[in-house]
Symmetry: C2
Subunit: 101 residues, 2 copies
């Protein structure tokens, strides 16, 4: 598989690693989403000064307001963080040739 | 780094591996996007019966119509393909316990 194919497979596996913990394997419950964020995004959480950041992410992600986060909503989180990270990457590349992510 | 952090880093690296080929390092030109799709998504291309699929993807991705694909537009492709792939994964999991991706 190519790097991009591996990456898409990883996204599916990561989502289901947490979504499969309760009966509803198609979505992340609030508990599952909290665990995913804490386990998979420790670097991001360390940089956040707002202690309510996880609650705010959960609220933002649940676009259809059903208290569950499906795979598409999970990808919105990945997209948002990747865009922020890429901007940082570009800035540092321009300045020092270093990578931030 | 965690699996999800590695995945976000890979997405940035893959995009810039192709976007950095010409002077404009912030976007993929039509030529760079074609190369990315052909090199990174061979499995997807093999399954497509429509020979114009690459042209159609390029047209769909360029949401602001400037003939270039930025990182956010590239992530739309990844999101769309990942969602399709995850649906297939779920169907096969239900039927046979096998994975498609």
């Amino acid at each position: 598989m190519t790097d991009l194919e591996n990456c898409m497979e990883s996204l599916i596996k990561i989502f289901h690693c947490y979504a499969d913990e309760d009966k509803d394997k198609t979505t992340l419950s609030k508990k599952e989403l909290t665990k995913l964020i804490e386990k998979e995004l420790p670097t991001f959480l360390k940089t956040q000064k707002n202690p309510k950041v996880v609650d705010e992410i959960k609220k933002d992600l649940d676009q259809n307001g059903d208290d569950k986060v499906d795979f598409q909503e999970f990808l919105s989180l990945v997209t948002g963080l990747s865009i922020a990270c890429e901007k940082c990457f570009m800035l540092l590349e321009q300045k020092k040739g270093k990578k931030c992510c």
